[in-house]
Symmetry: C2
Subunit: 213 residues, 2 copies
């Protein structure tokens, strides 16, 4: 990639703006990180950048199902930032226990490199928000996880089982993710539970666990 | 597309949640709307959903270059919502005068249909935010436009002229868009102007205007 052209604006810290531009250019790569689930119409796999956009939209649309006092703007900021680590770490399929084992380490190294492209004040903020998401302790982080887990369930349900079928995921495995949704939003958790029961009736789940690939 | 499974959560308005889910499922189609510019690495055309994600990220990263008092959370909400009309109206290439002529009408019809999928209170809010973006009168709308115009310029510059070269765009045409950027952010406008001068030196622009295709 060629270097950005020089900047001539008065009163602007050129070095700082150049760092910010490099960050935006580097994060363009998130558009090429492919997830396991398909688009809702089944035409192709979803990428992590468009997934992040949909989560931001869904967080606001479903805001009323977050616990009282949840700051939705903060949830949106978290969801816009949270997947950037996948540029280096790749998308980890939530039902792949092998991949999931090394995920924290891979994503930490990715966060070290990627958020560090930003000027130091912005780096600290982005890093803190990502850590908050990962820790899943605040209302905002829990609700962000709820939306993040619900979206692929919708896509899988609407593509006749999608990644669940292709990767032989069991009902029990999906119900673990439903607990993450319930933890962030009672209403969305109940909806997800109903969706899983319905998917089970339709035969979308494997009878016994197998290593997801 | 199959209908969403029934919902059994206590105290939740099922009809309302179903409308919200249908909106999210319908807006999944934005991932299949292709823009004229390529990804920064030149590997393929960008889609409008991943573009919206990048704008949300860029708006926050470049927030300090917005006029004092600009509410960045509102800019982000605007950018997440603003391209949804393209699901029906398609992406309009900003240098295509023929397409641009019919754009307002096409996008208004699209907004009528798409935002109306939401429950009426949310529909009114989404519609108002989209109208605010289109009117380009508030600081927030102007800054949103600045970021929206700058991103494809970066992509075109980094792909050796990209869509400018392919569609025979002139320097004068691009400078019109630079004015839109300057109108929302002095610093980003100055950067964009420098980028255009550099692109001109590199021979990325056509010598005379031709109908963009």
């Amino acid at each position: 990639m060629t270097e950005p052209a020089p900047v001539f604006a008065k009163g602007v810290d050129h070095e700082r703006l150049t760092e910010q531009l490099r960050f935006i250019l580097e994060t363009d790569k998130l558009k090429r990180v492919l997830r396991r689930n398909m688009l809702v119409d089944g035409s192709r796999r979803e990428n992590s950048a468009e997934h992040s956009w949909q989560l931001a939209l869904a967080a606001r649309t479903f805001a009323e199902y977050a616990p009282p006092g949840t700051e939705i703007d903060h949830v949106v900021e978290m969801l816009i930032l949270h997947d950037i680590v996948e540029i280096d770490a790749g998308d980890t399929f939530v039902y792949d226990t092998h991949e999931s084992a090394s995920q924290p380490e891979r994503e930490r190294a990715a966060a070290d490199r990627l958020y560090a492209l930003l000027p130091s004040d912005q780096k600290a903020r982005a890093r803190a928000i990502w850590e908050e998401f990962e820790a899943r302790e605040t209302r905002e982080a829990r609700f962000a996880h709820a939306v993040d887990r619900l979206a692929p369930m919708l896509a899988n349900w609407h593509t006749e089982g999608g990644a669940w079928v292709r990767h032989k995921v069991t009902r029990a495995q999906v119900l673990e993710k439903v607990r993450v949704i319930s933890d962030g939003s009672e209403a969305l958790g109940a909806y997800a539970a109903a969706l899983v029961e319905d998917a089970d009736r339709r035969g979308y789940f494997a009878r016994s666990a197998s290593p997801a690939g």
